[in-house]
């Protein structure tokens, strides 16, 4: 899961229409931050996008002097984003890294004034300016320190990648759990600042980040730190926040926070592999499709992005899998069971009730369904992150299954829907339903 990815300049690549012009215009206007945000978004989706990588190199290469009076300078979080790790050049001795654009120049020998460091053209052994000043010289030359390499370090520096970055597929990430040493958990901004340094995510991925409280002292030793990681994942799995078998899909890393901060434990949990489609899964997926079809027929002209996205095969597959897990839990426990997943732009909560009897089903929601959904929404919503919230309820007696759905779109102008059958008759009457 973790290795150093290094950008190599290919002979040919497909340009992204309009990207160069857009980024150039933003740079011309001094809006480096907006330009980099767009490039980071693109590279998060597609790390192999050569044009976005080269544009990012140019933006990240911008000197401090140019940024000083820029309308929007780059932020330090952007500069140290793990998404840019493949295009970074890192010192082989210390942790210093920087961005150079020498890979874009097609010259093998390139004299560079004010270089940030030097590199061996044979093996890419690299020294930053500070380490180079302290390195032993052979006359005026700096010999490469790699055993067996006869190269001499030069000012032309190509990307080496950044060490320690966890290379994951953001699209296959279930949750990122963040724990900070000490008794005070971080705020989401602080957590993101650390997470995006080591994992290729962007601030928009905040809903995937789950901040947990540390047990002071446990992060001092590697073994106790690992125990805490396991315990957290296990607890979250039992709380149905994570899908079963989460520990086997987890990778944990202990990293240092920003300069005035302290150690963090970051646990990345991958999404479970898709189980081979079972008959039960297929049946539930068909039920979901039918339900959405019926709602669409009853509400013609309702074509907002939240509703149309809900109909995609990926979302339906994911929802069916969640409902299946919740149904199994509900059967074992003989009461309401819930599973939750963030997927694409949706917070999907799947509830299963082991009965078809509606009054009995309603009775599962303490203080009534509106109050339950309000609490659920408050717990899981991520203000400012454009996430729609969907609650599916499966009522089943083992032979027959009925589905109900509540949908709260991120865009309040889209049609919201409440699972009316889950409302007590008095409530329905008071709402005029």
């Amino acid at each position: 899961m973790s290795s150093t990815r290094v950008f190599e300049m290919p002979e040919h690549w497909e340009p992204v229409p309009g990207l160069h012009e857009r980024i150039s215009a933003l740079i011309g206007d001094g809006r480096y931050r907006t330009a980099m945000a767009e490039l980071l978004d693109l590279l998060r989706q597609d790390p192999s996008n050569v044009e976005a990588a080269t544009q990012a190199m140019v933006v990240a290469y911008t000197s401090r002097t140019e940024l000083l009076n820029a309308k929007e300078p780059l932020t330090s979080d952007q500069r140290s984003s793990a998404i840019l790790a493949p295009i970074a050049t890192q010192c082989s001795v210390c942790d210093n890294f920087w961005y150079s654009i020498h890979v874009l120049a097609q010259y093998e020998y390139l004299g560079v004034a004010g270089a940030r460091g030097v590199q061996c053209p044979i093996c890419r052994y690299t020294l930053c300016k500070e380490c180079a000043a302290a390195a032993p010289r052979r006359g005026t030359a700096l010999p490469c320190a790699t055993p067996g390499c006869a190269g001499e370090l030069q000012t032309r520096a190509l990307p080496t990648g950044r060490r320690g970055v966890l290379l994951i597929d953001p699209g296959r990430t279930e949750r990122v759990i963040v724990v900070r040493d000490g008794p005070i958990p971080p705020e989401i901004g602080e957590a993101l600042s650390v997470v995006t340094r080591w994992i290729p995510l962007v601030p928009k991925d905040a809903p995937f980040v789950l901040i947990c409280r540390s047990v002071p002292g446990l992060m001092r030793e590697e073994a106790s730190c690992q125990f805490m990681a396991w315990k957290l994942v296990d607890t979250l799995e039992k709380d149905t926040v994570l899908a079963p078998g989460a520990w086997d899909r987890s990778t944990s890393m202990r990293v240092h926070g920003t300069e005035d901060d302290i150690d963090y434990l970051i646990i990345t949990v991958e999404l479970p592999d898709k189980a081979p489609s079972s008959a039960a899964h297929g049946f539930l997926a068909d039920l979901i499709r039918d339900h959405l079809q019926r709602v669409a027929e009853e509400n013609p002209g309702n074509s907002g992005p939240c509703w149309t996205g809900l109909d995609s095969d990926d979302i339906i597959d994911e929802t069916a899998a969640l409902l299946l897990q919740a149904s199994e839990d509900a059967r074992k426990m003989n009461h309401l069971a819930t599973r939750m997943r963030i997927f694409s732009k949706y917070i999907i909560v799947a509830g299963a009730i082991p009965t078809l009897d509606l009054p009995q089903a309603r009775g599962q929601f303490e203080n009534g369904y509106p109050s339950y959904i309000e609490r659920l929404y408050e717990n899981f919503r991520f203000p400012g992150y454009d996430m729609s919230f969907v609650h599916w309820i499966s009522c089943s007696d083992g032979r027959t299954t009925q589905l109900h759905m509540t949908l709260l779109p991120a865009d309040p102008s889209e049609l919201a829907m409440l699972a009316q059958d889950m409302l007590e008759p008095t409530v329905r009457r008071s709402l005029g339903l």
Binding site: S63, E72, S76, G182, I184, E190, D260, D261
Partner: protein, 409 residues
């Protein structure tokens, strides 16, 4: 003309001793016996004897409210003690403000420059001849300092500030460089210091400084970084060589008028010509500086430092130190960080956090206190630190976390 006039200074300094926070001979909090009272640009400085430990200390008490003191306090306590930077030890509460206990360093570079300038021949301006005592660089420029290594020590202290914590001092001048009994320089006075890392997507703007030593971007109140300090070092170096400031005019006595003069100067072609005059003294007649310097030596370094555009100045104090070595032959000096005893370190973090809370920088206070509470501390200290952390959390709008922390034993 008073080059040391600081932006925001009261035009008429307060009467000596009238508003002083303590009287001569008074023993503050049963520990600090006041032996001398001085008033600086922005603060009283009490020279005291620590009757408990038998050390001499300086207690700095700001004139105007507590904010100036708190900014400095945060800057000082955020730094690990370093031999080239004056160490802050603790705080002392006075009736109206907070005093900062600092290591005592007897003299400032400005006093030494003044003394050496007086010692120089009156009919020949200081700097052109070698006064008795001052150091001389390898290229022959006499310096108004007893040891030329002082310049490297300033660079080392400033490099520590900018490399370790990304601080810009923004008020580097001879009176803020102190010289200890052994003649070693220590950078002092962090009232204007700013962390220059981009935090909220912008670089900081300096809030003043001493205009005579300030870089053009600071005078214009534009965003700046530690290269503004490189400019100030250039002014300081010129003064160390000549006893004068590198301007073709006398500076006005009020800070506002000084700033206007300098703004006008930076709108003219004078600054560019000044750099040329310093760099090519043989070819260009000196009209922008009161006295030429050898172009292949110290003049070239000052010319580099005084560049109007920050990108043309030496990029760091480490680079500047190398230039002093390569051009003037002044050996580079590096000091080692001296770790403090754990309890002293913890007291400094607590004092810094309290200052951060007063400055309403709650998030930073929370991080510092979390760091403090992540390690075992004694019970009395733990309770104080926990209560301070709760205040910081409430200030940061996190009442639920503050309540949870209150339940934590």
């Amino acid at each position: 003309m008073d080059p040391d006039v600081t932006a925001g200074d009261r035009f008429t300094p307060p009467e000596r001793l009238a508003d002083a926070p303590a009287a001569l001979g008074e023993v503050i909090q049963g520990r600090w016996s006041v032996t001398e009272i001085l008033s600086g640009g922005q603060a009283w400085v009490l020279i005291v004897n620590d009757v408990e430990q038998g050390n001499r200390r300086a207690i700095k008490v700001p004139f105007s409210g507590s904010l100036t003191g708190d900014v400095e306090l945060v800057a000082l306590f955020g730094l690990e003690p370093y031999p080239r930077v004056v160490t802050a030890l603790e705080t002392v509460e006075f009736d109206r403000s907070m005093g900062l206990v600092l290591e005592y360093v007897p003299r400032s570079l400005s006093e030494i420059i003044g003394r050496e300038r007086s010692a120089a021949s009156p009919e020949r301006p200081a700097g052109l001849s070698r006064p008795s005592g001052p150091a001389r660089t390898d290229v022959g420029t006499p310096l108004l300092v007893p040891r030329e290594e002082v310049l490297q020590e300033i660079c080392d202290g400033m490099a520590y500030l900018s490399n370790k914590r990304e601080f810009a001092h923004l008020d580097l001048k001879p009176s803020n460089v102190l010289i200890d009994e052994a003649g070693i320089a220590k950078v002092a006075d962090f009232g204007m210091a700013r962390q220059v890392r981009i935090r909220q997507g912008v670089f900081p703007v300096a809030s003043g400084g001493t205009w005579a030593y300030a870089a053009p971007e600071v005078v214009r109140l534009e965003p700046c970084d530690s290269r503004a300090d490189i400019f100030s070092f250039g002014v300081l170096l010129y003064e160390v060589c000549t006893g004068m400031l590198p301007y073709p005019f006398g500076l006005a006595s009020s800070p506002d008028a000084q700033r206007e003069q300098l703004l006008e100067y930076y709108r003219s072609g004078g600054p560019r010509r000044r750099c040329d005059e310093l760099y090519y003294p043989e070819q260009i007649e000196a009209t922008q500086i009161p006295m030429p310097l050898p172009g292949d030596g110290v003049g070239a370094i000052i010319s580099d430092c005084l560049q109007e555009y920050p990108g043309k100045r030496p990029s760091s104090f480490r680079d500047l130190g190398k230039q002093l070595l390569e051009i003037l032959g002044i050996p580079i000096v590096r000091a080692e960080v001296v770790p403090l005893a754990e309890i002293d370190d913890q007291r400094r973090v607590l004092a810094m956090s309290q200052a951060l809370i007063r400055l309403r920088r709650f998030d930073e206070a929370v991080r510092a206190l979390n760091r403090l509470l992540s390690k075992p501390v004694n019970e009395a200290f733990f309770i104080e630190a926990k209560q301070t952390a709760q205040s910081a959390l409430l200030g940061a709008g996190r009442p639920d976390i503050a309540a949870a922390l209150g339940r934590w034993l």
